[in-house]
Symmetry: C2
Subunit: 322 residues, 2 copies
């Protein structure tokens, strides 16, 4: 009799592509694949296609036994298993995603938003393995966050807790996609730092290679590259981004007093360029009782598998608790 390996399916639904993998409890990945998210098919067909691929992978590796399905998706409601009014997905209104997957598989299904999945991934497989109180900040196009307290993710009453990207860092500040002004993600995100570069370019006389790049062509990678080569504008943009992020994280510390704050995602790839000014600013802005206690760290989850592992970790946690 062969050895059975228990796995879960981790699914990460992004605006453009959906990635999936079969993951065991230790984080070993037995297959990976992806399908486009935004093609013409409706949600039922999308789930059908994805389910078929997962089943094919399970059939070709008969020692794998599926125990559950975990999904990270924008505006994922953990309590209801639904996607609710996700601006970046074409399926509008309230989508009963967990229910749709359950019609294909007789295993538990859980979903949450991508930043919460990243936080659970960090707790199960990453740098927060021995922590009960921490925050994960994802610095991508926007700023996402997952808060863990007493060893549990904070979902809140409605399942939508942890939107630190939409806390206000500057009263009447930059315009935000949410319709308000001064949200943290308008400063601290891959998009935010581009806006900051353009603000500094407008104010400063300093020469810079960034003056040859349009707003739409500019990326946080290009800003990081310029900063590494010593460009003054790019370096100042990282300083300012870390300054505002640290300032606002001091408020978050006053809420949940975490052991550590992890930075993850595109902008976090810049490493010390973003980490150092964030650490310094946080420390400077903390209420005295919190000083010299809170670590700001780079996520230990690799970029490639993190989303799949995070979604997988979500459902492993569920299985463990039941």
């Amino acid at each position: 009799m062969e050895n059975i390996i228990e796995v879960v399916a981790g699914i990460d639904i992004g605006g453009t592509n959906t990635k999936f993998g079969l993951v065991d409890k230790k984080g070993n990945c037995y297959c990976e694949g992806s399908v486009p998210t935004n093609s013409d098919r409706n949600i039922e067909n999308f789930v059908n296609e994805l389910s078929k691929l997962i089943k094919e992978n399970l059939t070709s590796q008969p020692d794998l036994q599926l125990k559950g399905i975990g999904i990270g998706v924008p505006n994922g409601n953990y309590y209801k298993g639904t996607i609710e009014h996700a601006a970046n997905l074409k399926w509008k209104g309230i989508v009963p995603l967990a229910k749709l997957f359950k019609s294909h598989f007789e295993v538990p299904v859980a979903l949450t938003n991508d930043a919460n999945a990243a936080a659970i991934g960090e707790m199960v497989y990453g740098g927060a393995r021995f922590m009960k109180d921490f925050i994960v900040i994802t610095l991508g196009t926007g700023l996402g966050s997952g808060l863990v307290s007493n060893g549990k993710l904070i979902y809140g009453h409605d399942g939508f807790a942890g939107e630190l990207g939409h806390t206000i860092v500057r009263h009447n500040g930059r315009q935000c996609g949410c319709g308000r002004r001064g949200c943290l993600e308008t400063y601290a995100s891959a998009t935010g730092i581009r806006r900051t570069v353009f603000e500094i370019l407008s104010e400063s006389m300093e020469n810079s290679p960034l003056r040859d790049i349009s707003f739409n062509e500019l990326t946080s990678d290009k800003i990081a590259e310029a900063a590494t080569k010593g460009d003054v504008i790019a370096k100042e943009a990282f300083e300012y981004t870390g300054e505002l992020l640290g300032q606002k994280l001091a408020d978050s510390v006053a809420h949940t007093s975490p052991e550590a704050i992890f930075l993850f995602g595109g902008l976090a790839k810049a490493g010390d360029l973003i980490l150092k000014p964030t650490q310094q600013s946080l420390e400077k802005h903390l209420l005295p009782i919190y000083r010299n206690k809170i670590k700001v760290l780079l996520s230990e989850m690799g970029e490639i598998n993190a989303a799949i592992l995070g979604a997988g970790a979500l459902i492993w946690k569920e299985i463990e608790q039941n």
Copy 2:
């Protein structure tokens, strides 16, 4: 054989007085008393005196059986059972309060800060009885807060979570006792609204009975009284206080997404004067996904017993969980 009534001692240590009571699981109080906090005796003698009083009450009511001791105290560290560097108490440094009580009583002892005790009181005896995610804001001399998520108080890594009074509502705003600027409690508290009255008096030409009262004589009760009589300055001060409190609570909602936020303490006694502008401002400043979901309510704990009941509820919760 007579009926045994199980009770806990609820102790509320304030800067001036320490109140205590014996409380059963339903919140019935079998005795109450108080001793001065700030007399000349050291901490050992303070605990001796208080323990003696509790024992006398237990002896005189032999049907009462003591099951535990719960304490609300400024800078109380739940994890360690200590008071740590409390600015308003004369016992300096780190005081092993739980240990001292345990030398007098062979029952479990738990302590936390007064706002956390208020939150647990609200959960056990008050308006949050059927809630798992809520926030209690205490509007006294300062602004305290207790956050409950997944049915548990958020203590944080170090035991000091929930200092919303020291989140920043105005960058470079009013000077705060903590050494920083713009903290929420410099606006939203009994002291904050006095500062606001004086700011408005300085800017406005409006006549007001508040012009006859010195800063040190002014109280939030007097401001509420003036507002009730139609004084424009006093009404504007409440509007502004609620506006800033609601603005900042929108940030807190983006952290823990509570079902309700309860207002408690001296300033909350003003009722609708503070409640209405806070509700309106919160709703206006919320991220769209949170709108029309979050209740802002007055605490259902009476002023008189709330602190004792809260401290009692803290230890009842502990006993329940073990």
